[in-house]
């Protein structure tokens, strides 16, 4: 990443923080509480030393025990405040990211795996917020504890600080090494685990395929190898962790021995009293804890940085253009025209020099071999993509003059394979509608889509759960629900993309009957590979080699279009 882009990322990170309005009050409160807890930690060793030296007055003991409980209580409150701050930040970051990931242009989704966008919204938000809400306000108090301890020791005698300073480089070195190694190996394990999970996920989802190809032995072996690999990595990791822990503990012993031997020397030379040494000994714990906390903070900063950068990168992306002010839902559109439209996905040209007119309130059909560009034309009509050259107009106005929202509201789209969302049949039929819909309307739409009967056969009728991606319904049933959805939307323009291609004869007949009703009084644009369904279209546009080969009615094309003729021949069944 070059410098300017890096700056840009940081800038957008700041914007992200500003937009997500951090709960400053909570963060500051948390900071103060942690300071208080640290302050108490500074008092304890001194008191303990007093007690252990023989000050066993009940009042001293009670004071110390009450202070302990006070510390627990304060920590408790600080946990609550920190969690609340974190949750608040998560929520506002999530709102921000949700809005963002819903408003990106389609080419962005084509080039980015959905799981990335998902983890940006669900996981990265959480990482960043626990950092901002918990770790950041906690950090100053750790520094305070560390410095405060040093200060107290200094007040006892400067030599004690010097004694401590001897061991600090060792601690720092160890901390650094173990942090590095631990991070590296932890990463390795995560990667192996992800590999194993990915492999398992794929095989377990495709057990029937495995059976059909009799691959049990092979896949068994592959799985065993994967498990073995993970096992070896884990053992190595734990070997290293155990080694590091041992080193850490040994370092603790070294520190203690230095404290003991050094202390003995200081006491013999009467620089300090034995009592002060005892307090000093207790305080050293604070110091090593402080260093550990600082190390943790550093690691968390790194992790949070990663999350922040990933989110900022998405925040930087341009939203889908909202388009002009014309509202297609409120005015008559007129004819749709492609004027010398060209379009490429990356380096591959998909459409070239494409010119045709789709007359209003008529049926226009696109036919052609697969790869001829039919679906791309639909993508452009939906304004998922913008043409690279040429322009698309509606009633003489460039389509960009219409607001994108009204444009899509005015278009009903029934895709080749219908996606249902989890929810009920009802919620799927009314999907995307902003007005209130009556029960009668829904029933009427379902009936017109030939969906009513099978819906009523379901246990809960319209309230039947569809299951994720409509998995509990057959393809034909999903398709009819999509048609009911389009009917209810009552669009100005209807796009039908090979709607019946995956259906059996019966379902096909039912769906086609429904479609006939849907075509009345609106512009219908369809893609079909089943030529019987386009026979009656007002206009058929034949696509070939990424452009328009011919246009006309069925009768005209039989005479004039070689491509249409060859398509017909291919569809002709064997002699009956």
């Amino acid at each position: 990443m070059d410098e300017s882009k890096k700056n840009h990322v940081w800038k957008s990170f700041l914007i992200l923080l500003k937009d997500s309005r951090l709960p400053w009050l909570f963060i500051i409160f948390k900071l103060l509480l942690s300071m208080g807890v640290s302050q108490l930690s500074l008092i304890f060793p001194d008191m303990t030393a007093q007690i252990l030296a023989g000050d066993l007055a009940v009042s001293t003991i009670t004071l110390m025990v009450s202070l302990m409980f006070l510390q627990y209580a304060a920590t408790g409150v600080s946990v609550i405040v920190g969690r609340m701050a974190g949750a608040k930040i998560t929520l506002s970051l999530r709102k921000f990211m949700l809005r963002k990931v819903l408003s990106l242009p389609i080419p962005f989704y084509d080039n980015n795996m959905p799981d990335r966008l998902i983890s940006r919204t669900t996981e990265d938000t959480q990482k960043l917020s626990s950092y901002l809400g918990d770790d950041v306000p906690n950090f100053p108090s750790q520094i305070y504890l560390f410095l405060g301890t040093l200060f107290i020791l200094f007040r006892y005698d400067w030599r004690l600080v010097a004694l401590t300073a001897v061991t600090i480089p060792v601690i720092l070195l160890l901390t650094f090494v173990s942090g590095r190694l631990g991070f590296k190996w932890n990463n390795r394990i995560q990667i192996k685990l992800a590999e194993l999970t990915g492999y398992l996920a794929e095989i377990l989802a495709n057990i029937p395929l495995l059976k059909v190809f009799v691959q049990e032995v092979k896949e068994d072996q592959k799985g065993q190898d994967n498990i073995e690999e993970l096992y070896k990595t884990k053992v190595k990791y734990q070997f290293i962790t155990a080694g590091l822990t041992a080193a850490d503990e040994l370092q603790g012993i070294v520190t203690n021995v230095v404290a003991i031997v050094g202390g003995a020397w200081l006491v013999t030379h009467e620089y300090i009293t034995l009592e002060i040494w005892m307090a000093y000994y207790l305080y050293t714990g604070n110091l090593s804890r402080g260093i550990t906390e600082m190390k943790l903070f550093w690691e968390r900063t790194k992790a949070a940085q990663g999350a922040a950068r990933r989110m900022s990168e998405i925040a930087m992306e341009q939203d889908e253009a909202a388009g002009g002010n014309l509202d297609l839902t409120k005015q008559d559109g007129g004819d749709l025209c492609f004027e010398q439209v060209g379009f490429s996905y990356g380096d591959t040209q998909v459409l070239r020099d494409m010119t045709f007119t789709i007359p209003a309130n008529k049926v226009t059909a696109f036919v052609g071999k697969s790869g001829a560009g039919k679906s791309t034309v639909f993508g452009l009509l939906e304004r998922f993509y913008d043409p690279d050259s040429g322009r698309i107009t509606m009633g003489g106005e460039s389509v960009d003059a219409y607001s994108l929202r009204s444009w899509r509201q005015a278009i009903g789209y029934v895709p080749q394979e219908t996606q249902l969302l989890s929810g009920t049949i009802r919620s799927n039929i009314t999907y995307g509608l902003e007005r209130q819909v009556t029960e009668e309307e829904i029933i009427r739409a379902a009936k017109a889509a030939n969906a009513y009967d099978f819906i009523m056969e379901q246990k809960n009728g319209f309230d039947t759960e569809t299951g994720e991606r409509g998995s509990k319904l057959s393809g034909g049933q999903c398709q009819r629900i999509a048609i009911a959805r389009a009917l209810l939307k009552d669009p100005k323009i209807l796009l039908l993309d090979e709607v019946t291609s995956s259906l059996d004869a019966e379902a096909k007949a039912a769906v086609e009957e429904a479609l006939e009703r849907l075509k009345d009084g609106r512009t219908t644009i369809m893609i079909a590979h089943d030529l019987s369904t386009v026979r009656d279209a007002d206009q058929i546009i034949v696509l070939d080699d990424r452009t328009v080969e011919a246009a006309g009615t069925h009768e005209e094309l039989i005479q004039t279009s070689p491509v249409y003729q060859s398509l017909l021949r291919a569809a002709q069944p064997a002699a009956l």
Binding site: L209, Q215, I227, Q238, G243, S566
Partner: protein, 583 residues
């Protein structure tokens, strides 16, 4: 999920021990425990030594050396214990995972259908680990129980009074242990539940972004998403409050222990019943006691968690895998396949009832009928993915059940309605399941025959393009053509085609159909089709309706004699033949 746990609870622990028996290196666990017991002896000496040092005995060189040695020994011993312990755990984990994987890979379809693939994954990855964690914790608890016993023994030796006073605190400790458990559990569950709801929401929208956009539904979706995020927010705040409130109680255990020791100790010292040195030593042990209690607490919680996982894993381990090895090999001469009074039920629904027909050898048999008639089931039974509920399927005179399953499936090529592709390259997918090395020429030939060559070579990396990177960019038709190429290269003796050309455009369909027709020549083929040409040219047609055979025969006879068939064909015929309107 809850239901399965409930069911699992009723089961005995027998399957658990059966499962653990061979897979757990018990000797190592015991060895590790012995090491733990030895270390316990050392561990309990440390606070005493530290106490004496802190008390000012820092001029006693022997004591300092002893302190150093005991600690170094302890650290080394503990390191060894941690390493062996984690090795034993990982080893057990691996054994369990492997055993489970062996089962899952050969899981019968019926059992497989009951599962959800994503939960099966966590059975292997996290549930097995839960089980081993539980084992490890169990043995660790034994060691620390001994350690605690030693500590109390010492306490008792030094001061009976303080020990008894500590025992009085037991009810309080129990209270602090037990009460938060449920509250914490519920709060965690709520938090995880709302979070996964939010994740599911985002996942579904991101997978269906085109639907959202073409419906101009961004605003309501944003609102719904915010609602889900807010539910998760509330659960998080709730969790934070629960944790914050419980924190002081949980930690108060060490406070209580220290207070008891100091107050009782101080009183005793004032009566000269205890030496200050001893009190210091006892005080040094206070954190140790609290640490034990925490350890038990977490071991207890973990055991509860592991309980569910253990039973589910044990249950899966108990499923009988498909047996490949049967009585006869499948090297017999070609013969007709006979369905003899076959019935099949699935989840309490009759799919096929008393179906009888013959699939003649070397001929094409088409299975025709409305959706839900049981066509795909016939193919699944032929592939022996399922076994009939009643009746038998015979190969000649041999019941298919007695033929080696792997031989049988290897001889059959089965193309499903939608063919899954696996990650890896297109080439990997075309050659999937081939035991011999396959030449590039063969792959190209197969791809050409399946009409897949052109689109494959247009991809940036041709045959080496990775399916994962293409993601959803392959259309259904393209996927299907890769599956057909896979079948062509397998060159099976028997072919089972379930609407193999469905979802292809007319030109592709007719070309692939030609390739398949060519492939089917002289082989036994069973075809589920709604394509008129395939049906008409079949040697034998079985008409199914609602799980029953309505008629069997050729197109000519059936069209004349069977009303259902005629109606079905007419419906198709009307739609499939625009060519008839040319003239």
């Amino acid at each position: 999920m809850k239901k399965t746990i409930k069911n699992a609870k009723k089961q005995s622990w027998k399957p658990f021990f059966k499962m653990m028996g061979k897979n757990v290196p018990w000797a190592w666990y015991v060895a590790n425990l012995v090491l733990g017991l030895i270390l316990a002896e050392l561990t309990v000496r440390v606070p005493e030594l530290t106490g004496r040092l802190m008390n000012g005995e820092i001029f006693d060189n022997a004591l300092v050396w002893q302190y150093v040695w005991v600690n170094v020994l302890l650290i080394l011993g503990r390191t060894i214990q941690v390493i062996t312990g984690s090795w034993v755990g990982n080893y057990t984990d691996r054994n369990l995972q492997r055993a489970l994987w062996k089962r899952l890979i050969r899981i019968p379809m019926r059992k497989y259908d009951e599962q959800n693939p994503s939960t099966l994954i966590s059975r292997v990855t996290s549930d097995c680990t839960q089980v081993t964690l539980f084992l490890g914790n169990f043995f660790n608890s034994l060691a620390s129980l001994y350690e605690m016993f030693l500590v109390f023994q010492m306490f008792y030796g030094m001061s009976r009074e303080i020990t008894l006073a500590l025992l009085l605190a037991v009810p309080y400790v129990l209270l602090v242990f037990i009460v938060p458990g449920r509250i914490l559990f519920r709060a965690t569950e709520r938090m995880q539940g709302t979070l996964s709801q939010f994740t599911n929401f985002v996942t579904e929208r991101m997978m269906n972004v085109k639907l959202v956009k073409s419906s101009a539904a961004e605003r309501p979706e944003l609102q719904a998403g915010i609602q889900a995020a807010e539910a998760s927010y509330k659960a998080e705040v709730h969790m934070g409050i629960v944790e914050g409130v419980l924190y002081p109680f949980k930690n108060s255990i060490s406070g209580v222990v220290e207070a008891v020791i100091l107050l009782v100790g101080a009183a005793m010292i004032s009566r000269s019943a205890l030496l200050l040195d001893d009190l210091v030593t006892l005080y040094m042990y206070a954190p140790l006691i609290a640490a034990y209690l925490f350890l038990y607490l977490s071991a207890f919680h973990q055991a509860k968690q592991a309980q569910g996982a253990t039973h589910v894993v044990a249950d899966l381990m108990q499923t009988k895998p498909e047996t490949m090895e049967r009585e006869t090999s499948f090297t017999q001469d070609a013969a007709d396949i006979v369905f003899d009074d076959v019935s099949f039920r699935y989840q309490d629904r009759d799919i096929l009832s008393h179906v009888s027909f013959t699939i003649p050898s070397g001929k094409v048999t088409a299975i025709v009928g409305p959706s839900g008639a049981g066509k795909t089931t016939v193919l699944s039974l032929l592939e022996r993915l399922y076994t009939p509920y009643e009746g038998t399927i015979r190969f000649g005179d041999t019941p298919v059940e007695t033929i080696h399953l792997d031989d049988w499936r290897a001889a059959a090529g089965y193309i499903q309605q939608t063919s899954p592709l696996l990650s890896g390259t297109i080439r990997d997918n075309i050659t999937y399941g081939m035991d011999r090395p396959v030449s590039d020429a063969e792959v190209i030939q197969a791809a050409k025959a399946a009409n897949a060559y052109d689109f494959i070579t247009k991809l940036p990396d041709g045959f080496s393009s990775s399916i994962g990177q293409l993601g959803g960019k392959l259309s259904g038709g393209e996927r299907q053509r890769i599956a057909i190429a896979r079948m062509i290269i397998k060159d099976p003796d028997y072919m089972l085609l379930d609407e193999a050309t469905c979802g292809l455009d007319a030109e592709n369909e007719s070309m692939i159909q030609k390739a398949l027709d060519h492939l089917m020549e002289g082989r036994t083929a069973v075809v589920v089709a709604h394509n008129l040409r395939t049906i008409v040219s079949a040697d034998n047609i079985v008409v199914l309706d609602r799980g029953k055979v309505q008629a069997v025969g050729t197109h000519e006879t059936l069209y004349k004699t069977n009303e259902l068939y005629r109606r079905y064909i007419d419906l198709q015929f009307d739609q499939d033949s625009p060519a008839n309107h040319i003239s």
